[in-house]
Structures are given as C-alpha cells and as structure tokens.
C-alpha cells in the first residue's frame, strides 16, 4: 500500500518539477500532470478499497516522526478515504476535461491545478488546525488562479472578490485558531475536542470563529456573492472542481471540526444549512445565466448537506448514508452539469436547446437534472426519502417541510431549464463541437450516478433490487433507439406483456389491485398498439412510455411506502417526458411537473407521518395509525389529488392532455390519472375509517365542484382534445365524490366510474386523437361531416360518449344508477344535485363532440380523408368490447368488488338475482336493460331505414352573405360557441380564477426572489461587509 503522504509528495514534487519544462515540452508536462492526478486517485482509491474490504484500520500519519500535538498528523480513515477518492477522481476527470486549456496556458497552470487538488486532500486528512489553515489558503490562492483561466474582465473581477472574501475569512480563522491554542494548549483538533474549550465564554468565541469561518468557506446564503461570481465567471471545467471537489472537502472539514464546540453547535448548522438551501434555490428561480444558476444550485445542495451534517445527532445511524448519498449525488450531477456547460458554451439557459444536437449529452443532462431534484433511481432520492422519514419520525417536522420547500424551489428552475432544452425553438444550425476528452468525463459521472442509485438500495428499508428490472429494460430500449418505431413498439409490447406476467402473481389475491392491474398493464399494451400508426423512428418515445408503465407497475406491486413512492416518482418522470413530446406542450408539461413534484412531496410527508405513527414502512400499516391520523390522511389525499386533478389542482391537466401526442393522450388520461385514483382508493380504504367525517365531507364537496367545473369547462371548448381533457377532470370529480361517501354503494359507483372512464376515455382519445392528426386541426368547427368518411370511428366515438354521458344501455348508466342510490342513502343531497347537474352538462359536450366531428357539412379540405388506420381502430374496438361486456354482465365485475368492499363497509347491495342488483331503493338488471334498449334501437333504426326513401337529400353549399365570405368564417359554424347561452348564464363559474390564483403565487415567489437577489450588488467590498454581518448575526444567535 502506498502511504497517503505520497499524495502530497507526488503532487508537490510534480508541481515543482514542471518548472523545469519549457514551452516546447507541454505535451510531456500535460501527460505528467494527468499521470500525477491518476496516481493520487490510485493512492486514495486503494485505501478506499482496503477500508471497504475491512483489511485496514484507521491510520494516523505522523509527520516528522513525532506524536501530535507536537507535530502535525494526518488521518486516513474510511471517511477520509472516501472523501479523498472523490476529490481525486474529480480532479483527474477535471484534468482530462481541461486538458487543452491547461496546456495552452502552460506548465504553471498545470502546477496550480495539481496543487489545488492536493491541498483539498490535505484539508480532508489533516488533524491540525493551523495546517488546515495553510492548506485552505493554498486552496484559495489556487482557486483565485484557476478563475482567470477564463481570460476576461469578469473573471478578473470575480478573482479579486474571491481573494477579498477569503482574505477576511482566513484572517478571522487565524484569530480563532490562535486563541484555541491559547485555551487548549494544542492545535490538534482531537486535543481541542478533549480540552472542551467551549465552556468559557472566550473559548466559545474562539470555537465560534473557527466554525463560522468554515461555514463561510461553504458560501452560505446570503453571504456568498463572491462564491456565485466564481461559479459564473470561471471556466465551467473549473466550476465543476469548485462545486464538486472543493465543496466536498469543505463539508468534510466542517463535519470534522464541529465536535470542537460540542453538541450545542449542531442546531445552528442545521439553521444555516436550511437558510442556504431554501434561500439559494429561491433566488435561483430568477436566474437566466446557466453557470450562475448552477452556482445557486450548488450552494443550495451544499446547504442541504450542511443541514444533514448538523442533523447528525438526530439522524443517528442513518446519518452516514443520508449525508453520503446527498453529497455524492450533488458531486456527480453538478460536475456533469458544469462540464456540459463547457461544451454548450451558451450563457443563457434558454440557449441550451443546442444540446438536442447530441442525444447522448441530452440524456446525460436529463439524468443530472432528475438526480438533483431527487427522482429515482438516483442516490438523492434514497437519501431524501430517508432524511424526511427520519426527520418526521423524530418530530423535526419543520425541518422536513423546509427541505421539501427548498427542493421544490430547485425544481422550479431546473424544470424550466429542462423544458427549454427539450422544447425550445431551434434557432441555429450550428452543431456541437465535442471533443472526447470533454465527453468521456461527463459520461463517467452520468453512469456513476445510475450505479450509485443502484447501490443505494440495500441501505433503505423497503427498497428492492426488483424495482430496477424494468429500468434495465428501459435502458435497453434507449440503447436500441435507432431502430424503426414498429420494431421498438413490438419489443415494448412484448416487454410489457412479459413483465405483466411476472408481476401478476403479486396482485392476484387483491381484487382492487387486479382491477388497476388491468387498467395499467392491459390498457398500457392496448395504447401501445396505437403506436403502430406512427412512422419513422419515434426517437425517445419508448423509454419514457415504458418508464411511466414501470412506475405504475411498481405502485401496484409494492407493499411498502418506499416502493409506492419510488413507483410514483418514476411514473411522474415518465409521464412528464411523454407529455412534453407534444408540439406546444412546454408550458403545460412544466406546470404538470411542478404540481406533481409538490404533490409527491405531500405524499412523502404523509408517508413520513404514517411511518412515524406505525413504525413500519409497510403500506398496510396505514390501517392502524394512532397519531397524526388526520394529518397523514390529508397530506396523502391532497398529494394524490394533484394527480387526479381535483379542483384547484387541475390547471395543468387540460393543456398537458390536450397538447400531447395522439396516442399519449389516452395513456395519460385513461391510464395515468388512475394512478391518483388508486392512491386515493388505497388511502380511503385503509385510513378512511379512522379519520373524521368532516374531511370526507370536504372531499365530497371538492369532488362535486370538480365535476361541475370540469364538465362546464369542457362544454365551452372549441378544441376537441381539450374538451376531452376537461371532461376527464369532471369524471375524476365524480370518482372522488363517489368514494368520499365511504359506503359500499358509493365505492361500487366509484369503481364503475374508474372502469368506465378508463374504457371510454381511452376510446375517445385514441379515436379523436387519430382524427385530429388526419384533419390537421384541433378545432371542432374546422371538422364536420366525417360520418361517411369514417364510419368505424363514428361508432367508436358514439359508444364512447354514450358511456360517458351515462345513457342506458351502456355501463355508464350502471355507474349513474349506483351513484344516485348511493347519494340518496348517504344523504348528500345538495352535492348530489350539483353532480347531477354536472352530469347533464356532460350530455352537452358529448353531443357537441360527436356532432361537430361527424355530422354537418364536410369541409372542402377533408374530401379525400380516409378512415383511421387499423392500428388505431383495433385497440379502440377491443375497448368497446370491454364496455359491452361490462354493460351486459356488470355483476361479474361488480359483485366480487362488492364482496371485497363488505370487509370495509356494511353491505347495501344484494346480488342474489341473476344479473340483478338490488338496493333498498331500487333494482337494476344490466343484461335486461341492454337487451331491451338494443332491441328498441334496432327497431327504430329499421323503421328509419324503411322511411329513408321519403327524405330529401340536400346538396352541400357554401356559406356566403351577399357574395361575401364572413370575416371570421368559424363564427357561423354551428359548433362554434355552441352553448353561448349557457356560457352567459353560468360561465362565470369557470372564470380562470384558479389559474390566476396560482399565477399570483408564482409571481409573488419570483418577486421575492428578485428582491432578495438585490443583495448581490456585484461589489466585492459589499460582499466582505456581508461576511462580517453574517458573522455578527451568527454570533448573536449562537452565543449572544
């Protein structure tokens, strides 16, 4: 084993040695630099490996051969091995990345770089305070030097500000150190810890100065303007080093010296970390410059790790995993993003769309963003999950809430950025110039992130490697993305079928899960069939679609809160990418994501409370929660309602579903929304009995109003797909209302609605989506008369809207029948009336839909239109088969459900007759109704056919007034503003008040961010003043 001391010897020897080399030998010296960095990595890596195997114990390195405190000692333990390896790896990769630039500037630049990395190693290893000071200074000077690798005035200014700030800071550090020596008689950190200098006032001040300075080195918000300038103006290649390596060392030092002050200091570190995490991310929301934004994000993430360090006494045995997961995640993701920035070479984040020129880099970018926000399967997901669980279960609820707030703020700008990258108008032809030395480090950190996520699994209760199986398949699909669409479609269907087969045993015994299994998996396969309609390669579609289904499958099969949440986030990520594929989807996908992230955090909090009360991660534990019942229930309910788009939380849905691709709309509408319903049902079923009636009552009202507003908005839509989207909101309102009644009948109605909505919304979106593509317009008034051109589509839509409107004989009526029985039995009359009214409105848009598309006059440009392709019609007709079966034999489905429900609710429906359902109020026979109605219908049709000869056939004609075309031709179309009267009467109900509400909130946040960031005046001296003020305030809070 090579001793860690050789890290210093090699680096310094090499740095001095490079001085011998003239300009002609730059290649040799650059090679030597890389070799040196590689050797340093090797040294720390072999120690890490040895510690990992347990073959060595912590080593103390005594310099000069004397014991501490008489001489300086370094320590190489497991933690130090991890940290130095991290630093050296990023140093080596950074060296590779900046290879050309360093060579250009010359040997001295290489020396400075290698010395910087070495100094960070020593900072981690040293146990001597003054030695720490010396190497911190080395780090500062080297950093100030590396800033000006970017040769412009801005970087010079940043360099000076940085030197000023660190100058003030290190002066104060020196005062702290010398007085620590004065009181403890030692410069050794361990010696000072055992001396307990903090017991006297003056000793406490000395320790305070040291801790405050080390905190300031980590650039806490808001005394960090100088740090931000460094991030913004330095070469991105170097920004990665500052963000990843320097921060790692700084955090470790803080962790190392904190025990000097004793337990009392930890809460203050938590406070500082939280302020930094929330504040920095908040201000970041206003940032347009990519590197500065990364700076804000870096500081935020460092603040988060700082918080965790402060939480060490609270987190106990989980501390190491959480801190390391979050640190590693930041380290890899931020280095990757900075390096990407060096390739993109665009200042504005809105100009990053050039990233789309290179698929691999685009995917890496996405990985980094999702890792930073904490999505699965990245380490931060595991870390944050454990963190929130531990915080809530130790009653540190506000810390958990603030951490989630900060994460959300980070999401605001990260997803904005992601949206810009994925969708922004491509304005240039320029291609990306990528050299291998820049590309490979980014790939390495990206892959490491995935691997790190995978290896986080055993550290979290409830996590299984099983969850990674579909992810592996997704990666495979991503690798074969160059194949034509139909091949990938077939593979996807095969993969999904096989996976469904694997997981079926897991859901088999549970009827509710089985129903959702059918919706998610069978429905998923059916909607995938529609994909055969698409030509070309359809790049990027299959991995994300499968990601959504993988998430849904995980939700279904998991029996732990962790698994559920894992699946939930996976599904959210997949659906986000699906939605953003639509042409005009950017803003809608953005708001979908923000609502989803917020919802997910509520769910996480809810689970955390449940976990606190139940003491286990098992989902089933929700059933008997003693404390926090209402709180957990409410959080979970609201969280799930973001996905079901309940009133107030619905504003993302119309755009997201309406603008999505033609086969994505059915996926997200018919299937994805049911994930929220599944969550709600699970919640209500497990916890509904324990919580008070009031909450259910409120939820019932929310459901009723959601139904009303959704349906009403649908009526006034001119856009066919938006109409269907609003209709989904309304339908999900019914479902919420039905299950909130918490009676057997209500739940039966709810299940019926779930099944129906899945069936008919899938049909409608599949077919209408196909028609929208065929006609080339979303607008209903630009369609018409397609009946003869597309008869099969017409029948499909007809059956769809019959079910939707709840008209006999189809199963929609069954839902209604159960529903009204349930309402009457429950006694929720007023709400019932509202829902009833909403139901009648549904007739109106159903009529508008089918009338505008299929009836009336055929448009000139549609004369040669063809029927939809079989790839669309076959799945639609399979679903129609489902409707017919469910309409004819509802008891086959509903009776088992009723039986299952009777375990939870008193039975109110009797299934004794053959196909006859009886309640105390009335009875209903699905088969009979179907047979009677169909017979009648056929009779009427036959009669009409008989009298057809007597009708007059009219020729088509154009609309013209006095030989003029109307100014806006669409205004004369019957379906344009079809229900103007209704709009006049009750249209105010759907005035965009809720949209305005959310917009006001977001404006307020942005204004606040804009106000706070005025602190960063750009003046280096002001930043120095900030530092002093920060220290003074910190002093008064902690010791004053």
């Amino acid at each position: 084993m090579v001793g860690p001391i050789y890290i210093i010897a090699i680096a310094l020897g090499l740095a001095f040695f490079l001085g011998f080399f003239g300009k002609s030998l730059k290649d040799v010296s650059a090679f030597l630099m890389l070799a040196g960095l590689a050797f340093m990595t090797f040294i720390s890596g072999q120690w890490l490996l040895a510690f990992f195997n347990g073959s060595v114990t912590t080593q103390e390195i005594f310099t000069a051969g004397f014991r501490p405190p008489y001489s300086i000692n370094l320590r190489m333990g497991y933690e130090e091995a991890v940290m130095t390896t991290m630093i050296n790896v990023i140093g080596f990769l950074g060296g590779v990345y900046m290879f050309k630039r360093l060579k250009e500037v010359g040997n001295s630049a290489m020396s400075v770089f290698i010395v910087l990395i070495m100094s960070l190693n020593v900072i981690v290893m040293t146990r001597d305070l003054f030695n720490l000071f010396v190497f911190v200074e080395i780090g500062s000077i080297a950093t100030a030097g590396m800033i000006i690798l970017e040769k412009n005035s801005k970087s010079l200014q940043a360099g000076l500000k940085y030197l000023m700030a660190t100058g003030v800071i290190s002066g104060l550090l020196l005062i702290g150190i010398i007085f620590a020596y004065y009181f403890a008689g030692s410069l050794n950190i361990d010696g000072i810890i055992t001396a307990h200098v903090g017991v006297t006032k003056a000793g406490a001040v000395a320790v305070f100065l040291i801790i405050a300075v080390l905190v300031l080195e980590l650039k806490p918000f808001p005394a960090n303007g100088w740090g931000l300038d460094v991030y913004q103006s330095a070469k991105p290649g170097f920004g990665a080093i500052v963000s990843a390596a320097t921060a790692t060392a700084g955090l470790y030092v803080l962790y190392k010296v904190l025990p000097m002050g004793g337990e009392t200091w930890y809460p203050y570190i938590v406070l500082i970390g939280l302020i930094t995490f929330v504040g920095s991310n908040l201000v970041g929301t206003r940032q347009k410059d990519a590197n500065r934004l990364l700076g804000y994000s870096s500081i935020g993430q460092i603040g988060l790790v700082m918080t965790v360090i402060g939480l060490q006494p609270i987190l106990g045995s989980k501390f190491s995993f959480i801190a390391f997961a979050l640190l590693l995640n930041h380290y890899l993701a931020k280095a990757g993003l900075f390096w990407l920035s060096g390739i993109i070479k665009k200042e504005k984040i809105s100009d990053w769309y050039v990233l789309r020129k290179n698929k691999a880099l685009l995917i890496l970018f996405v990985i980094f963003i999702f890792a930073l926000i904490g999505f699965p399967p990245f380490p931060s997901f595991f870390g944050k999950y454990e963190l929130i669980m531990s915080l809530v279960s130790t009653e540190n609820i506000w810390i958990a809430v603030l951490i989630l707030l900060g994460s959300f703020a980070e999401g605001i700008y990260m997803f904005k950025w992601l949206g810009d990258v994925l969708k922004d108008e491509d304005q240039t032809e320029e291609s990306l110039n990528i050299s291998w030395n820049k590309f490979i480090p980014i790939v390495i950190v990206g892959v490491s992130l995935l691997a790190a996520g995978f290896y986080s699994t055993p550290y979290v209760e409830g996590a299984h490697y099983f969850y990674f199986i579909p992810l592996g398949f997704i990666v495979f699909m991503g690798l074969i993305d160059f194949l034509p669409a139909y091949v990938k479609n077939t593979l996807s269907i095969a993969g999904m079928t096989y996976y469904s087969y694997i997981i079926y045993p897991l859901v088999e015994g549970d009827l509710m899960r089985t129903i959702f299994f059918v919706i998610f998996m069978i429905g998923g396969i059916l909607t995938l069939i529609v994909g055969y309609n698409k030509k070309g390669k359809r790049e990027g579609f299959y991995p994300v679609a499968l990601m959504m289904y993988a998430g849904l499958a995980t939700i279904l099969t998991s029996d732990s809160m962790f698994g559920f949440f894992f699946g939930w986030e996976l599904m959210t990520a997949g659906s986000y990418f699906l939605i953003i594929r639509g042409k005009r989807s950017k803003p809608h996908a953005y708001s979908y994501m923000l609502f989803s992230v917020a919802g997910a955090y509520l769910i996480l909090l809810g689970f955390a409370f449940a976990y606190t009360s139940a003491g286990t991660q098992d989902l089933i534990a929700l059933k008997d929660i003693a404390v926090y019942t209402t709180l957990a229930y409410t959080l979970l309910a609201v969280g799930f309602m973001t996905k079901t788009a309940s009133l107030g939380l619905h504003i993302w849905l119309p755009g997201a579903h309406g603008e999505a691709e033609s086969d994505v709309s059915p996926m997200v509408s018919a299937i994805l929304l049911k994930a929220g319903v599944f969550g709600l049902m699970l919640l209500f079923l497990y916890m509904g009995q324990q919580t008070g009636e009031t909450l259910l009552f409120v939820l019932g009202w929310v459901g009723a109003f959601t139904a009303l507003v959704g349906n009403l908005a649908a009526v006034f839509q001119e856009d066919a797909k938006r109409l269907l989207a609003y209709s989904s909101i309304g339908q999900l309102g019914y479902i919420l209302f039905a299950i909130a009644m918490m009676t057997q009948l209500g739940w039966l109605a709810g299940f019926t609605y779930v099944i129906n909505h899945f069936l008919f919304k899938a049909i409608l979106f599949i077919v209408v989506g196909g028609i929208v593509v065929r006609t080339g317009t979303h607008n209903l008034y630009q369609m018409g008369g397609l009946l003869k051109k597309m008869p099969f589509s017409f029948v499909a839509v007809l059956i769809g809207i019959i079910t939707l409107a709840g008209i006999p004989p189809l199963s929609g009526f069954a839902g209604k029948w159960l529903f009204y029985n349930a309402v009457v039995l429950k006694g929720w009359y007023i709400q019932g009336v509202i829902v009833f009214f909403a139901g009648s409105i549904a007739f109106m848009y159903a009529f508008k839909l089918i009338h505008s598309i299929f009836l009336g006059q055929l448009k000139d440009n549609h004369r040669n239109i063809k029927e939809l392709s079989p790839a669309i019609l076959i799945p639609a007709y399979i679903l129609i088969g489902g409707i017919i079966y469910f309409s004819a034999y509802p008891q086959n489905v509903l009776e088992p459900i009723g039986n299952m429900l009777s375990a939870y609710f008193p039975a109110t429906v009797d299934w004794s007759g053959d196909g006859l359902a009886t309640t105390v109020l009335s009875y209903w026979n699905g088969n009979a109704v179907l047979i009677i109605i169909v017979t009648t219908f056929i009779l009427v049709l036959a009669y009409l056919k008989l009298i057809t000869g007597k009708t007059t056939k009219l020729e088509q004609f154009n609309i013209a007034y006095s030989a003029e075309r109307p100014f806006r031709p669409e205004t004369t179309h019957v379906s344009y503003n079809m229900f103007a009267g209704l709009n006049k009467a009750i249209g105010f109900l759907i005035a965009p008040g809720i949209t305005r509400f959310w917009k006001n909130i977001s404006d307020m946040v942005l204004d606040l961010a804009g106000f706070i960031r005025r602190l960063y005046s750009g003046n280096g001296q002001v930043y120095a003043v900030h530092i002093i003020i920060y220290i003074v305030i910190f002093y008064f809070i902690s010791l004053g």
């Binding site: 010396v134 030097g145 100058g167 002066g171 010398i178 007085f179």
Partner: protein, 115 residues
C-alpha cells in the same frame, strides 16, 4: 507590556478591517488587508509570550536566563507573514490587470457580475 502590545494588535486588526470595508480605492483596500494581517500577527506572537521569557534559542546566552517564550506561535506567524505576502502580491496583480481594463481604481466600477 504584552497587554499593550496585544491591544495594538487587536486595534490594528479592527482598523485594517475597517479600511477593507470602507475604502473605495482598491489599493487602499489591499493596504487595509496588510494592516489586518499585521495586527493578527502581533496578536499571535503576543499569545506565545511568557513574562520574563527570552527568545527560544537555546544557546549559551539563552540558557542563562532559562525561561523561554513559546516557539510555536512564532513559527505560525512566520508562515502567516509569508502567506500574507503571497496574497498581497496576488491581489495587487489583479488590481493592476483590472486597472488596465477600466482605468479605475474604484471598486464600485467593477460590478459586471451581479444578482
């Protein structure tokens, strides 16, 4: 005596800090840093002082007195002085280069990076 000297040290430190924070001329700011570090160095040496002690050189003259001051803070201050020179030189180089850019020594003129 050492009380007076440590007072001078603290006073210089605070005075230097005031200079750093209040002066607009960048050269003056660096002068402030110079005073700041000088003050800290004085404090450090004063910490190691022992009443009646002599320099920690154990030659014949020193052995006669037999009471020495602490060599450790002195060693630290040596390091600190040299570091101070390095930082000062670096800052001045920055200022020189910035001056070529904008022909101003006023720190308020260098606010291109903000928010």
């Amino acid at each position: 005596m050492e009380y007076i000297i440590i007072t001078i040290g603290f006073a210089l430190t605070i005075f230097g800090l005031y200079g750093i924070l209040s002066q607009k001329n960048m050269i003056k700011i660096i002068i402030g840093f110079s005073l700041f570090t000088t003050g800290i160095n004085i404090v450090m040496v004063a910490i190691g002082f022992i009443r009646g002690g002599t320099a920690p050189i154990l030659d014949e003259a020193g052995k006669e007195i037999g009471k020495y001051v602490d060599p450790l803070p002195q060693a630290l201050v040596l390091t600190s002085i040299v570091i101070g020179l390095g930082v000062t030189a670096l800052m001045l180089a920055y200022v020189m280069k910035l001056y070529q850019d904008k022909k101003s020594l006023n720190i308020n003129d260098y606010k291109d990076l903000k928010w």
